[in-house]
Amino acid sequence: MNKIIEVKDLTKQFAVTSKLGAKTEFVKAVNGVSFDVLEGETLGLVGESGCGKSTTGRLILRLIKPTSGDIFLEGKNINQISDKELRKIRKDIQVVFQNPYSALDPKMTISDILSEPLSIHKVVHKYQYEKEVKRLLSLVGLSEKDMKKFPHEFSGGQRQRIGIARAIATKPKFIICDEPVSALDVSVQSQILNLLTELQNELKVSYLFIAHGLNVIRHMSNKVGVMYLGKIVEIGDVDEIYNNPIHPYTKTLLSSAPIPDPFNDRERQIIKGEVPSPINIPAGCAFHPRCQHAMEICKHKMPFLKGSGSQHKVACHLIDYNEKFRGE
């Protein structure tokens, strides 16, 4: 299977403007991220708020310009291309946004919203727009009566369906789902997730699924990447990660997720301290101030993603130094 998306060393820094207008400080939102997504596969990206996962998604979408790094779509580097070419590329990379209340232009009808991508990328002929819109609506479980309505006449879940319909309108190869269910009720969440899964099967599209809910990630993804302070600290098959986490952060994250089983007794990992500010990322391993197992080397040397097993990679010095933590 070929790679649809490949990301190499993607970084993004934001400058903080002081009162007098000088840019003295920088926020390292994404600090060297690399991964790839295969055809038909879902890569989940999980982490706490502020770890940089949404920013990563936006970088791939080129909604923000990366400070450095490369992005490849089916082998083609899309980082340095012209605006015009970029717009063409957007046919293949689409997005479902987090907030269903603000992602759609409130002054456009559903029919307009869904016709726009069709007309921009000439997906079908002009006279077929209406037919295609109806088809898209039925794909996402809405009726054609909804065509003339405005976004504010729909509930959150329905709006998200519209957002999904818009994303699949251009028959993309890759869709970034940026926390698509975080703003929805729990009961609605499952419907949307099921929809996304169905669509993937039908349309053979790849997803980058960004979320902070671990259960959701597990449900949706084939592979999972865990992010902390702008870096991926662990990445691998979903079952591997969930059953056999290696990185201390991953372990903590998984252990803190509530399991609805009163008899399940597990060992809780407790981390000390707060998430540091992304302006002042600690030297060496970013997690070391809070890590139970921190060693001297962790304070100075930044660990890289290394694989113990072809797919399962961890960025932690412990795998080198401590047998206990070696995977498999």
């Binding site: 820094q13 400058a15 903080v16 207008g21 000088a22 840019k23 003295t24 923000i64």
Partner: protein, 304 residues
Amino acid sequence: MNPVILNILKRVFSTILIFFIFIYVTVFITVIPKDFTIKKVDDKWTVTYPIKNIVQIVNYNLKSLAQGEYKTTSNGKDAVLLIKNSLSKSIKLLTGGLLLAMIIGILKGIFDSRRGNSRDSSLKVLLTIIPISLPDILVVALLQSFAIWLIQHGIKIFKVAGSGTWQHELLPIIALSILPAAYIARVTAMSIESCYDKEYVKAAIGKGCSSRRILWNHVMRNAIGIIFESLSNITSMIIGNMMIVEYMFSYPGITQLLMNSYKSYDRNTTIVTIIVIGIIYFILDTLFQAIKHVTFKPLKEETA
């Protein structure tokens, strides 16, 4: 170099640049002769005064100005003294007017605003909009008729024209203060109301702070910055206002000098007075901006 210092230097430089452009444009406009037009001569459109000539005249004028030719007016009077006198008179007017405007404006603004009461009435919006809609000529004319009416009934506090005593300055100062006061009142009311909508004020109310404490500690602090920001927006309106007031009250301030020297074709004095008025504008504007920066702290994050 320290980026902060670099930034300040950049700003200072651009201000100076604008200033020079301002002076150049001023001279340019005053130099263009009145019958400058485009006529058809031999089937070709030509200007009656070649632009090159005009530019030459402008440069010449600038040079002579820089050499101090502005010192006498066209009827031989001491221009510097004249400018100084009228300038001081105008500054008196401005300071009096602006101070009065601030006092009246803020008081009215506080009075106008809902102060946290939830009676939502667009009626109040009416009361803030009408004062700022009054043209300044109406304000001056009404004040003058009021003064005349008083005089006709024996109360001789106000003098309606000229200058020399404080009585002469009273009415002009009041006239000058009214429109800025209306603006300030409006902005004050709006910012007070928007502050009351903010969560932290609601929290303070919930904690039991007295309304006066809330007003002073939380609300006014934020409002002052916004007030000065709006003041810098209306600086040019204030100067326009001053022109009208000085004209209608025959008050010998700097804008009167401008009008008189323009009417008597005294080009140098005209240019210098315009420049002086421009300087007043810049100073006022900078003053307001500075006060605003000190009291108002917005957060800005820019993407690289």
